[in-house]
């Protein structure tokens, strides 16, 4: 059992981090904390992608004249794009929270829901 866990430890770490982020998204009422949770949630997937590129004994994928074992750089390239997407999500989310704060004067979701209860 222990070996089963240790052999795939990168997968376990990604699942645990992901659930921490997901918990924050679901349970926190503060909108900024929700965004933090969302970022953690996304980052866990980045970690999964980065860890699967590892090849035992592999080196940097730059050709240096001799035959060598290289790690797989493709997942890393994909994640560079995904990180940009993640940053954009965070930026848009912060912009929306600023707008919400200007409108309601608070970023606590419960308080906002109380305020808009009688709007249609």
């Amino acid at each position: 059992m222990m070996e089963f866990i240790l052999a795939k430890y990168n997968y376990w770490i990604y699942v645990i981090i992901m659930m921490i982020g997901f918990y924050a998204v679901i349970s926190k009422s503060n909108l900024i904390k929700k965004i933090i949770g969302l970022s953690i949630f996304q980052t866990s997937v980045f970690l999964l992608f980065i860890s699967i590129g590892k090849v035992d004994g592999g080196t940097v994928p730059i050709y240096q004249g001799t035959e060598a074992v290289y790690i797989n750089p493709l997942p890393h390239v994909l994640i560079l794009t995904a990180i940009v997407v993640g940053v954009s999500v965070t930026a848009v989310a912060f912009a929306l929270v600023v707008n919400i704060y200007r409108e309601f004067g608070t970023i606590e979701e419960n308080a906002i829901l109380e305020m808009i209860k009688h709007d249609d």
Partner: protein
């Protein structure tokens, strides 16, 4: 030149999306003109592409000349060219409509930025349609989602930013699930090209990894297309977005999500993935789709805000599309694809006519529509045609797709799905009749009605055209039917 059309259809609007906000600094009208130019270009190009596909077969464009599966491939076949034409046509119609509607609903200083974001949204949707690479699909999906969140939040009402924020949180979780699905498929096969995945995956259907990947895709796309019970973001987003944005998102946003889901199911995994599993996935989704069709309609009856009513009706329409897809036979799938086309037209007509009423009056309550049938005859006629089409009266597009969905259910021996389709249609009759009753058969306060300003022709004309197309393609149904027939056979190949 023509061989580069598959990429130009995206690149030109993408470049113009960056120019539009800058040009808008000189004069607001420039940013609108650029948006119109970009969408018109895409529409004409996609018509040419559909023509090419019909005569010369599938087009495969290699990005930068790199051969797939190493390079990124853009694929145009019957399905993608068809959906591309729908999306770009509705984008043109909504852009023409947007000129006055947006000036009325959005602050002056935000208008240049609005058109930039608006074009990026369309670019994201078009990219999702033409790409043949699943990671590229994810990137375009995020472009259209991110701009979608911003567009929703630009609404005038105070709840708009909150609706946008909620959509962002749920949408990002969905997109991250899709990214995970892509990662799992990459771990399993080492490729990202859809056609290549389609060739490699059949040998791996016993692998838990591949099945988990499918589960991630299914949940991610169910969030993106607002399939019940993951639809919670949709009603608020459509209700509080500006009129033009509601019309565009309702008619194209979820449809393109459904299209991508169809691509993942049929092109990447293939129907055989569902054989020999411990649970029948298509059957499970048929149940979900049936519940969505009924619950969406029932919730729509309960609404007093007309945009919210239309939004809940979208939830039930997504149920129809997924019903067709998961029947997994050519006729049912054809019904689902036809419903993508038909629902895009009907919902666009409905949301545009609601936008015409809301112009300068802000009317959104069903009870305030009394007596408008004679004050705004064209917008209300368009609404009525859209409503009849949703219910599925013969000679409108709604009838054609429901007919194929019913035939597809019979083909599978699932006769019990037909009462579900009929009951959902009757429920639609209930909530649309309530609106039509108010429009034509109840007199409003004469003073209130007299005060309602006239709607500009630039808003009325696209509304009328889209509504008229609901009738045209309902009568001349052979055009979409013949295209979707080939598309369905291609997918089930």
């Amino acid at each position: 030149m023509t061989e580069h059309f598959p990429v130009l259809v995206i690149i030109i609007p993408l470049v113009l999306a960056l120019i539009a906000p800058v040009a808008g600094r000189l004069n607001k009208i420039y940013s609108w003109a650029i948006a119109l130019l970009a969408t018109l270009f895409s529409f004409i190009t996609s018509m040419l592409l559909l023509h090419q596909v019909m005569y010369n077969g599938t087009i495969s464009y290699w990005m930068g000349g790199w051969e797939p599966p190493w390079g990124i491939e853009y694929v145009l076949d019957y399905l993608s060219a068809f959906v591309l034409v729908i999306v770009t046509f509705l984008a043109v119609a909504v852009t023409i409509f947007a000129r006055h509607s947006v000036t009325n609903e959005i602050d002056d200083n935000k208008i240049p930025a609005f058109y930039g974001v608006y074009l990026l949204f369309i670019v994201g949707l078009m990219g999702m349609i033409v790409t043949g690479d699943i990671f590229n699909l994810y990137v375009f999906l995020e472009i259209s989602s991110l701009t979608g969140y911003a567009l929703v939040a630009m609404g005038k009402r105070r709840k708009a930013p909150l609706a946008g924020f909620r959509y962002l949180v749920i949408g990002t979780v969905g997109a991250t699930f899709i990214l995970l699905g892509i990662g799992y498929l990459y771990i399993a096969t080492g490729t990202l090209n859809m056609a290549d995945l389609g060739a490699r995956l059949p040998g791996l259907f016993n692998s838990k990894l591949v099945i988990t990947a499918f589960a991630f895709f299914a949940i991610g796309f169910s969030i993106k297309i607002a399939l019940f019970p993951l639809h919670t973001w949709l009603p608020d987003a459509y209700t509080y977005a500006p009129s033009a944005v509601s019309a565009l998102m309702a008619s194209t946003g979820t449809k393109v999500g459904a299209y991508s889901f169809i691509r993942i199911i049929f092109t990447v995994f293939g129907v055989k993935v569902f054989l020999n599993q411990w649970v029948s996935v298509p059957y499970f989704f048929l149940i979900i789709a049936s519940v969505a069709m009924l619950v969406g309609s029932i919730l729509a009856i309960a609404q007093t805000n007309i945009k919210k009513m239309l939004a809940y009706s979208s939830v039930s329409q997504i149920g129809y599309i997924m019903l067709g897809v998961f029947l997994m036979n050519p006729i049912g799938l054809q019904g689902g694809l036809l419903h993508i086309f038909n629902h895009a037209l009907m919902k666009c007509a409905l949301f545009l006519s609601v936008g015409c009423i809301a112009y300068k009056t802000g009317i959104s309550n069903i009870n305030d529509l009394k007596g408008l049938g004679f004050k705004k005859p064209y917008a209300m006629a368009a609404f009525t045609i859209g409503a009849l089409s949703m219910i599925g009266i013969p000679l409108t597009v709604g009838f054609v797709s429901k007919w194929y969905l019913a035939l597809g259910s019979l083909e599978n021996g699932m006769w019990y799905l037909i009462p579900v389709i009929v009951i959902s249609s009757i429920l639609m009759l209930v909530y649309f009749w309530r609106v039509i009753d108010n429009i034509y058969f109840k007199a409003g306060e004469p003073n209130d009605v007299a005060k309602i300003p006239a709607t500009p022709a630039s808003m009325i004309i696209p509304t009328i055209i889209v509504a008229a197309l609901c009738l045209v393609f309902g009568t001349l149904a052979f055009i979409p039917v013949s295209i979707t027939e080939k598309a369905a056979l291609l997918l089930l190949g």
